[in-house]
């Protein structure tokens, strides 16, 4: 169950794909209707990663590669460890005293939990956006400028702020009121501000933990459009309970389930299936994935 789901790129070895163009009626495989979702480069490599809170396991034996400039979705029922897993990726679990991470987590080939790694630097390179927008009680401008100032980033601060707000797809809505308090913005605007704040420190990866669950459909649509634009430059990992959102925006999807001990005292998350999103939502390999995405089990 918890075996590695990392797989070799199949692009050049798949006879169906190779013959598909010249003989389209011979064999059309549903998952091969476009370019392969995954890029060649890994941004993260997880090898038998487990997280415990005290003696209680939260996730066990997670092995997967997360690809560069892809959107990777983590889906699964409540309590399966999606948020725990995503928080491992920028060492947010370090802030929980009882949390313990075992196994290997490589970031661009380097051990993210190595002794010489600075967690603050990690969180600069691997930013995070949370379920509930959490702007600082400051002006829109200062929300964006906060990170670059702390980090002592060089350059014209006005330009840094404008660039981040433009990339966050919110510049046009706030350019005339940069000194207004961020709390006066709508929920959707606040969330895009938080994404812009994350971008302002020029990260490599953006982690999103249910970023749209508190937003209306229009704001959700804007965030999803923004994600599609951002993946040109960033790798994105998103936790979502919205199955259709995972299907719409992500390139790769990992499905996690809750495992229980026989006495049901302990529960933890394990990965069931990790594949191209198109495959997960049209022809999943595991019946448990099938039952979850079709809603046969909750």
């Amino acid at each position: 169950m918890s075996e590695s789901v990392t797989r070799e790129d199949e692009r050049t070895s798949d006879p169906v794909r190779e013959t598909g163009a010249s003989h389209p009626s011979v064999a059309i495989e549903t998952r091969h209707t476009g370019l392969p979702a995954r890029s060649d480069e890994n941004v993260f490599e997880l090898k038998d990663l487990s997280v415990h809170y005290g003696d209680n396991p939260a996730v066990k034996n997670i092995s997967m590669d997360i690809y560069h400039k892809n959107i990777t979705a983590l889906i699964g029922p409540s309590g399966c460890g999606k948020s725990t897993l995503i928080r491992c990726l920028n060492r947010m679990n370090d802030l929980i005293p009882t949390a313990r991470v075992d196994g290997e987590l490589l970031y661009h080939g380097e051990d993210l939990y190595g002794p010489n790694v600075d967690p603050v630097q990690v969180r600069k390179m691997i930013g995070m956006v949370f379920q509930k927008p959490n702007p600082f009680p400051k002006s829109i401008y200062d929300n964006i400028a906060f990170g670059p100032r702390i980090l002592g980033m060089k350059g014209d601060m006005d330009e840094i702020v404008e660039r981040a707000l433009r990339r966050g797809a919110i510049w046009d809505e706030v350019k005339d009121r940069l000194d207004d308090n961020a709390f006066g913005m709508s929920g959707g605007q606040q969330q895009r501000l938080c994404i812009a704040r994350c971008i302002a420190v020029e990260p490599d990866v953006i982690l999103m933990d249910e970023p749209c669950s508190a937003l209306d459909p229009i704001s959700t649509g804007k965030i999803e459009d923004l994600m599609m634009e951002l993946k040109e430059n960033y790798s994105i990992v998103i936790v979502t309970h919205n199955m259709q959102q995972a299907a719409r925006v992500s390139d790769m999807t990992a499905f996690l389930i809750v495992e229980l001990t026989a006495d049901e005292r302990n529960r933890w998350g394990e990965i069931v299936e990790y594949d191209d999103t198109e495959k997960i939502f049209t022809n999943p390999a595991d019946s448990r994935t099938e039952d979850y995405v079709t809603g046969k089990v909750g």
């Binding site: 495989e29 549903t30 998952r31 299907a247 049209t282 099938e290 079709t294 089990v297 909750g298």
Partner: protein, 236 residues
């Protein structure tokens, strides 16, 4: 699959949709049997009934199509549910075409006239073809209901019998003689044979949807552009 756990109403709706769609194949079987009898006995009134009854098949097509649109819009089906809906869309298109072919057959009957058949053997072959395609449609339905890919692939073998009889009809039509009346009768019978042969192909198409539904792969069992390739026996 029996509804269980969550989304029970949706699963029941999906199951009902499949039943309504596949019942459409029963309507086609009925139309084929009537058309066959009308050809055999030059029964113009029965032929008119076949033409009128096509509205029932068209109505079923529209009903299932609308239900599919509603399910797509409201339930966002994925995985095997999505494949089922995609397969049912194809099946409905096939059965609507099969109904139209029965109408095409029925329209030929007044043209063929009431005279005794110019070639008794040709008529016998055509009646045999109608029986064969009726069995094909029944088998396609059974394969879909039971998700039986082997039974679906077997449709190709049965369809070959229909194709061979169609070629035999063509051969006999060429040799029918110089009489204008006999040639006109033979031409009419050829159009009927062609319509029956197309029904067989549509039944095979339904079988291909069974394979897609079960495996997630779409493969034509037989490829007209690459004859001779035995795709039906390939795995997948």
């Amino acid at each position: 699959m029996a509804a269980q756990g969550t989304r029970r109403a949706y699963q029941e709706e999906l199951e009902k949709l499949e039943v309504r769609a596949l019942e459409g194949l029963d309507l086609v079987v009925e139309a084929i049997e009537r058309a066959s009898e009308a050809v055999q006995h030059s029964d113009v009134e029965l032929a008119e009934l076949v033409i009128a009854s096509d509205d029932v098949i068209d109505g079923r097509y529209l009903e299932v199509h609308q239900s599919i649109l509603t399910l797509l819009a409201t339930q966002a089906p994925v995985a095997s549910d999505l494949r089922l809906i995609s397969a049912l869309l194809h099946v409905m298109k096939c059965l609507e075409r099969m109904g139209d072919q029965c109408v095409n057959i029925a329209k030929m009957i007044p043209i063929a006239g009431h005279e005794p058949p110019a070639d008794e053997r040709m008529l016998t072959d055509i009646v045999t073809m109608t029986g064969a395609v009726r069995d094909l449609v029944r088998q396609a339905k059974k394969a879909f209901e039971s998700r039986d890919v082997g039974l679906a692939r077997d449709l190709v073998r049965q369809d070959d019998i229909v194709d061979n009889l169609n070629r035999e009809c063509f051969r006999r039509a060429i040799q029918i003689g110089d009489s204008e009346d006999r040639r006109e009768w033979a031409m009419t019978m050829m159009l009927i044979a062609r319509a029956i042969e197309r029904i067989g192909d549509n039944a095979v198409d339904v079988g291909e949807q069974v394979a897609f539904l079960v495996t997630g792969l779409f493969r034509e069992f037989e490829d007209a552009s690459h004859p001779g390739e035995d795709l039906a026996s390939q795995s997948g």
